[in-house]
């Protein structure tokens, strides 16, 4: 029987959750005994190639491309896990949610003290995805099956969650793995 496939992506996040995933260190060798990676920044595969058992989502949705990727994951993964605070709650990027989008863009591209932009041009290239009106946590866009909090969730937390999920065992996260202070 072929190994279950796992896809991962970083949307409106800082890649810190993926760094934490790499922090499982040498256990990554055990991990690839258990699974095959499909689309992921780890192997740089750009699109999901076949049905996956698990999709790991870092970050929420701040632009239309994030939505597009998240929907691809939902369509092709049996189980979606939102990991890290940006995916589960919007996190730091969602701090802009109290400021109207146009004000954000003006501050960044037109009115900021270090900005030189006499024509007041804002990014409008079709290659650049349009921003959403606000930053959405993953579960407001698609159905998410599991949530792992933390900024980032520690490597041990991710390891415990992934191995439990892949072996079909109930997940038992001790307090130390969910305590962040």
């Amino acid at each position: 029987m072929s190994k279950p496939r796992v896809a991962t992506t970083s949307l409106a996040g800082c890649f810190g959750c993926h760094m934490s995933l790499l922090d499982i260190d040498e256990r990554i060798l055990q991990l690839i005994e258990l699974i095959d990676f499909d689309r992921s920044p780890i192997d740089d595969i750009k699109h999901i190639s076949q049905r996956c058992a698990v999709g790991l989502i870092e970050g929420g949705c701040c632009n239309e491309e994030n939505v597009h990727v998240l929907q691809e994951f939902r369509k092709n993964c049996d189980v979606l896990v939102a990991f890290g605070d940006c995916a589960t709650m919007g996190g730091i990027p969602a701090m802009r949610n109290n400021i109207p989008l146009e004000e954000c863009i003006n501050e960044a591209y037109r009115d900021g003290v270090t900005v030189y932009n006499p024509k007041g041009i804002v990014p409008d290239d079709p290659e650049i995805p349009l921003l959403l009106d606000k930053v959405y946590p993953a579960h407001e866009v698609v159905k998410i099956d599991y949530f792992l909090p933390g900024c980032p969730p520690s490597a041990d937390t991710l390891w415990a969650a992934l191995t439990a999920l892949l072996s079909g065992k109930p997940l038992d996260l001790p307090y130390e793995l969910l305590k962040y202070d």
């Binding site: 632009n63 239309e64 491309e65 939505v67 597009h68 929907q71 939902r74 369509k75 979606l80 109207p100 989008l101 146009e102 863009i105 804002v122 990014p123 409008d124 079709p126 995805p129 349009l130 921003l131 959403l132 009106d133 606000k134 959405y136 407001e140 866009v141 698609v142 159905k143």
Partner: protein, 604 residues
């Protein structure tokens, strides 16, 4: 400016420059100046021996106080769900058209301000509004242009009262167009009674015996919580403290409730008699009636009643010749805050601060008003106590059910032929009440107001009592024509507005609950949204500090329980896993306008 200064100084002096009377001070400044100017906060603080921030927090807390100049006439249209169903929105449109201003605005000549306010306690004659302190009932859009024209010509709102209502509403000190709408009188409260017989009887007994009688009668608090009144008095009597207080909760803010309005109009003497008995029982010398701002039109009448009792030696020193028994009552006006019906908030408000609830324990019976032992009881509870003393605890306990003794005053409103006041023995079935009120094709009844529960026909055979359908008096009837979730949504809107904001579960949770309910109502919700509502509702109930947050999820939780099919019909199974509540077209609309191009991915 100097006139303002002298006005404020005069007002503060009248209240003994006492910080504990800040509510009265700012209420009077508001009346005198049409607002409480920010420039005056410092002056008021100095004169009343308090801090500027205290003044600011009081002015910003209460809906009837404003730091912006308001018109000499302030129109407050009642905006509860009963009024909406009776056409208040069309009345609102007519007001906007006639005045040429929107809500929360003042006419250009500075004469008239237009606002909305939650239930003003006139649901049996809705739609209603307050024009300053004057109540206008049974409004229609057609009546508005004339009303506005009259107000423009003569800013005295009392001139709008063409024909006063029944009973004491026609008394020259009330003179309101309000009708009592007493549909059924019961043996305890609305029956004819011998004035002050209860008080005279009580004074022949020791205070302990009075308390024993109230305990034997099984009287429970009529505000809704149902705490045993005799036990409360006993705790207050036994609590250590040199000064003790008797407070009467007349902050009848629960939407759909108006029975205290009728009691204060027709049984003011009985209420004061009950308070006097309570004072004798617990050993208090001071009483306060906390009267909601919406009922300011009753204030003159109540003060007159208090004065009459003083003259008859029923209040004051050596009451009825009973050496050493001194008791007097003052009225504390509220200023439009629902949460002040919660006893600890009510006490905060009486002490001249924001109406924030405080932690219990200690309970007010131990540390209440001015950190002294305080018994806070509902208007109706005092009436019952006076009647118990007269007719005996056995008589009272024989009425009603085993665990709910006596009768209950209900204010029935909404979709029924005969809205009004019904005094029924506890245990009366809801179905029977509905039949008497002439309610047909009933889809739902809200028992106990927004903080109570929504019940459907399956629950109509339950009785009105503490053990089955508990209510402080509110019974709102909704016919098959009404959208039950619109009702729940309106109730959530009410709680969002009325939360004092102190604790997170209530301040944040109610907003999240309302948002999610809206999603379901729009038809973009899923089964899991219903689970979310259930879970979050339970959390808010469990983690909130006071009664407001502990009951605010009830409109949602009780409809989820009793009207599940209504919800189920709105949520659809979604196999794609893409939430319909997320609309990508709307989400990129702004960015698309800024960039001046359409979405390349979604072609929006």
């Amino acid at each position: 400016m100097s006139e303002m200064v002298s006005t404020i100084k005069k007002i503060c002096k009248r209240y003994g420059n006492d910080r504990a009377r800040l509510m009265d001070i700012v209420n009077e400044v508001q009346d005198a100046l049409g607002h409480v100017p920010r420039e005056a906060f410092g002056l008021i603080a100095r004169e009343a021996n308090t801090h500027r921030v205290e003044v600011e927090s009081v002015v910003s807390f209460y809906a009837f106080l404003s730091d912006k100049k308001q018109g000499a006439v302030v129109i407050r249209l009642c905006d509860d769900i009963i009024d909406r169903f009776k056409g208040s929105e069309a009345v609102g449109d007519a007001l906007v058209a006639a005045l040429g201003i929107g809500f929360d605005e003042t006419t250009a000549d500075g004469k008239i301000t237009l606002e909305k306010t939650p239930c003003i306690g006139m649901s049996d004659q809705a739609p209603g509004m307050l024009v300053n302190d004057t109540v206008i009932t049974n409004l229609t859009p057609a009546k508005i242009p004339d009303l506005v024209r009259q107000l423009m010509a003569n800013p005295d709102p009392q001139a709008l009262v063409a024909e006063p209502g029944d009973g004491n509403n026609a008394d020259s000190l009330i003179c309101a167009m309000v009708n009592n709408n007493i549909r059924e009188a019961g043996p305890v409260i609305l029956a004819d009674y011998r004035k002050n017989a209860g008080l005279r009887k009580a004074l022949t007994q020791t205070p302990e015996e009075v308390i024993e009688d109230v305990k034997t009668s099984q009287l429970r608090g009529r505000g809704g919580a149902g705490f045993l009144t005799g036990f409360k008095w006993e705790l207050t009597r036994k609590a250590r403290g040199t000064e003790k207080f008797v407070l009467c909760n007349a902050d009848e803010g629960e939407p759909g409730t108006f029975k205290d309005r009728v009691l204060l109009t027709e049984r003011a003497d009985l209420v004061l008699e009950g308070m006097t008995i309570a004072a004798y029982a617990i050993g208090a010398e001071t009483g306060i009636i906390y009267l909601r701002g919406e009922y300011a039109y009753l204030r003159g009448f109540l003060e007159h009643t208090i004065n009459q009792r003083r003259e008859a030696h029923l209040l004051g020193n050596t009451i009825l010749g009973h050496e050493g028994f001194n008791f007097d009552v003052r009225i504390q006006m509220g200023a439009g805050a629902y949460v002040c019906g919660e006893e600890t908030s009510l006490i905060s408000s009486c002490e001249g601060t924001r109406g924030d609830p405080t932690d219990r324990t200690p309970f007010p019976v131990v540390k209440g008003y001015m950190v002294s032992p305080t018994a806070v009881n509902n208007v109706e509870s005092y009436c019952c106590a006076a009647r118990i003393m007269d007719k005996g605890p056995g008589w009272f306990a024989s009425i009603g059910t085993a665990r709910s003794a006596g009768t209950k005053l209900l204010s029935v409103c909404g979709d029924c032929e005969r809205p009004g006041i019904y005094e029924i023995p506890f245990g009366t079935k809801l179905r029977e009440l509905l039949a008497r009120a002439g309610a047909e094709d009933v889809a739902a009844v809200c028992v106990g107001g927004p903080s109570g529960q929504m019940v459907g026909p399956a629950q109509f055979d339950l009785g009105i009592s503490y053990e089955e359908l508990s209510t402080g008096g509110s019974v709102m009837v909704f016919s098959n024509q009404r959208d039950i979730l619109e009702v729940a949504d309106a109730f959530m809107e009410f709680f969002v507005d009325e939360s004092c904001g102190y604790c997170v579960p209530c301040r944040v949770g109610n907003v999240l609950l309302k948002n999610r309910l809206e999603r379901v109502r729009k038809g973009v919700g899923e089964q899991k949204d219903l689970d979310y509502l259930q879970r979050l509702g339970e959390s808010v109930k469990f983690t909130s500090r006071c009664g407001l947050g502990q009951t605010s999820p009830n409109p949602i939780l009780s409809t989820l329980k009793n009207f599940r099919p209504v919800y189920n019909a709105l949520v659809k199974e979604n196999k794609t896993g893409f939430h319909k509540s997320f609309n990508i077209m709307k989400a990129v609309e702004q960015a698309s306008a800024i960039a001046g191009r359409r979405s390349e991915i979604f072609h929006a």
